[in-house]
Amino acid sequence: MHFLPDIGLATLGIQLLVGLSRAMILFIVSAGMSLILGVLRIPNVAHGSLYMIGAFLAFSVASFFGGSTGFWLALILAPLAVALISLIAERGIFCHLYEREHLMLLLFTFSLMLVFGDLVKLTWGGAFRSVTVPSIFSGSLPVFGLPVPRYNLFLLVIGPIIAIGLWLLMSKTRIGKISRAAAVDREMVGAVGINVSWVFAIAFVIGCYLAGLGGALVAPTVNIALGMDHTIIIEAFLIVIIGGLGNMWGALCGALIFGVTQSFGVLLWPQFAIVFPYAAVIIVLLLRPSGLLKSVW
C-alpha cells in the first residue's frame, strides 16, 4: 500500500489545524441542530438547507457590497436572514407539528429540504459561487514553520467564542435555563405558567441562526453549490448522535472527532479521506451507542 507518504510533523500539525477549523464549522451547525433536537425533539433534515441558504446569502451580500465590508456584512446579515426564514417557518408550520411522531417529522423536514433545495436553485441557479476572503484574512500565517491560511485561524478563534457564548446563553440566561427545562419536561414547564410555545420558537430560531452562521462562515472556504445541504446534514446528524442528543459539548466533541479524523484521512489515504470520519462514527456508536456525553432525551 502506498498511502503512507513521508509525513513530517509540520505537515501533521497543519493538517490538524485545518481539520480543527473545519470542525468549528461542523460544531456550529451541529450545535444548532442539537439545540433544536434537544428542546423541540424535531429531527430537522432541512437544517442543512438553512446552512446552504446561509452560504448563498453570504455570497449575495458579499458580492453586492463588495470587498471586506461585503464579507463582514454577509457574516452579520446572512444568519439573521436565515433566522427570519426559520421564524416564519416555525410560526407558520412547525408549531402545529410538535405532537407528531418523530418519523413523521423526519419525513416532513426531508420534504422541506427538497423544497428549499429547489428554491435555492430557482434563486441562484446551478452554478458554483464563491466568496472571497476579506483582506485581513487573506494569505497565511506561519505556524510550525509552515503557512496556515489566516481564515482557518480565524475559524479556530470564532468556534470557541461561539461555544462559550452558547454555554453562557444556555446556562446563565433565563431563556437558556427554561429551554433546558423544556427539553427535559415540556409539560412541567407549561404547567408552571411559562409559554412553552415561545420557548420553542426562540430555541428553534437560535438553532437555525447557527446553521446560517455556519454557512456564512464556510462560504469563503468552499465552492458554494447545490448539494451542500445533502453533505452537511448527514455529518451534523451523526455528530449530534455520537455527541449525545441535545448536548452542546457533545456536539463539540463529535465535531472535533469528525474534523480530526478527516484530516488524518487526508494525510493517510487521500482518495478515501471521507471514509475515515464515518468509520470513527461507527466505532463510537458501537462502543457507546447512547453518545459520548449525556443525552437530554
Binding site: I93, L112, L114, D118, K121, Q271, Y278, L286
Partner: protein
C-alpha cells in the same frame, strides 16, 4: 356476509384485468410510457422491500437504498468486469445485497429505533463513500455505463416483460411471507417486542431475518434497475434515496400490503410528468409531501381504506 364477498370477487377480477393490461401495454402505448412503467415496477419493488422490514417489522431501516445500490453495482460489476454469464450476475446481485444487509443489520440490531437508524446511516454512508471514491473499480462519481445485457433483455420491451414477471413473482413471495407464521411473529415484534420476548420469541433474530429478506428483495430491485437503465451510479446508495423510499411507503400507507406500490407509482409518475414541464419537480413533490404529512398521517391508501370501510359499514347497517 354478502357485501364482503362481492368486494373480494370484484377485487380479484380487477387484479386479472390489471395484469392483462400490463402485459399487452407495450403493444398499445409508446415506448416512453413502457419505460416509465418499468421504472415504476423497479421502484415499487424497492419500496415493497422496505415496507417488509419497516411497516411489518417496525425496524427503523433508514438507509435501505444501500442494499439496492449494492445489488445494482454487484450485477453491474459482474457483467462488465467478468465474462460470467448474465444470469449468474442476476443471482449474485440479491445475494450480495443480502449479505451486506446481514452484516450491517447484525451491527445495528443491538441498538434500538433511532440509534439503529443512525448507525445504519453511518454504515451506509461508509459504503457510499467507498463506492463514490473508488474510481478504478466502481467508476467513482461517474458510475458505470453501457452495461452489456443478454439479447433477450437488451430491447426495452424485453426488459419490460422481464421486470414485470420478476416483480410479480417477488410480490407473490412477499405476500406468502407476510401471511406466514414468520410474518405474524414479525408484526408482533413491531407491536410489542416485550410481550414477544415473554412468549419466547427471539426478537432480534426475527428482525435480522426480516432484514435479510428485505435487503434480498432490494438487491433484486437493483438488478432490475440495471436491466432497465444499463448503468449504475453512486446516487443509488445515497441517503436521499433512502428517505425517498421511506416517503413512498408513507404516501401509499405502510400498514397495507400494496400501499408502497402506490407510493412508488405516484412518486415516479410525478417526477417524470411534472419534470417534462419544469425542472423544479422536486419542489412540487416536496410541497405535496408536506401537505400530505400535515393532513393525512396514515398515508393515501390508509385514508382511502378508512373512507371505504366507513361506506361499507354504513351500507351494511342499512341492510
Amino acid at each position: 356476509m354478502p357485501k364482503k364477498w362481492i368486494i373480494n370477487l370484484r377485487s380479484f377480477w380487477w387484479q386479472i384485468a390489471i395484469l392483462v393490461v400490463l402485459f399487452i401495454l407495450p403493444f398499445i402505448v409508446s415506448s416512453f410510457y413502457v419505460y416509465v412503467l418499468a421504472l415504476i415496477f423497479v421502484t415499487a419493488l424497492l419500496a415493497m422491500s422496505l415496507n417488509l422490514v419497516l411497516g411489518y417489522g417496525g425496524v427503523y431501516q433508514f438507509h435501505h437504498a444501500v442494499f439496492y445500490g449494492v445489488g445494482a453495482y454487484a450485477v453491474a460489476l459482474m457483467l462488465t468486469k467478468t465474462s460470467l454469464p448474465a444470469w449468474i450476475g442476476f443471482i449474485a446481485g440479491p445475494i450480495v445485497a443480502a449479505i451486506v444487509g446481514l452484516l450491517i443489520g447484525w451491527l445495528c440490531v443491538r441498538l434500538t429505533r433511532l440509534y439503529f437508524g443512525m448507525l445504519q446511516i453511518a454504515l451506509g454512508s461508509l459504503v457510499w463513500a467507498i463506492v463514490f471514491r473508488w474510481y478504478n473499480f466502481t467508476g467513482g462519481d461517474n458510475g458505470i455505463c453501457g452495461i452489456p445485457l443478454p439479447s433477450l433483455l437488451s430491447s426495452l420491451n424485453g426488459a419490460y416483460y422481464f421486470i414485470l414477471i420478476i416483480l410479480l413473482i417477488c410480490l407473490i413471495v412477499m405476500y406468502l411471507i407476510v401471511n406466514s407464521p414468520f410474518g405474524s411473529t414479525l408484526q408482533a415484534t413491531r407491536d410489542n417486542p416485550g410481550r414477544c420476548a415473554a412468549v419466547g420469541v427471539n426478537v432480534r433474530r426475527h428482525q435480522l431475518i426480516g432484514i435479510i429478506i428485505a435487503t434480498f428483495f432490494a438487491g433484486v430491485a437493483g438488478v432490475l434497475f440495471v436491466v432497465l437503465e444499463r448503468s449504475v451510479f453512486p446516487d443509488l446508495l445515497f441517503w436521499v434515496l433512502s428517505l425517498e423510499i421511506l416517503i413512498m411507503c408513507l404516501l401509499g400507507g405502510w400498514f397495507t400490503f400494496m400501499g408502497p406500490v402506490l407510493g412508488a407509482a405516484i412518486t415516479v409518475a410525478l417526477r417524470t410528468f411534472v419534470g417534462i414541464y419544469t425542472e423544479y419537480w422536486t419542489l412540487i413533490l416536496g410541497v405535496m409531501l408536506m401537505l400530505l404529512i400535515f393532513f393525512l398521517p396514515q398515508g393515501l391508501v390508509g385514508y382511502l381504506q378508512e373512507k371505504f370501510r366507513r361506506r361499507i359499514k354504513v351500507s351494511t347497517k342499512r341492510t
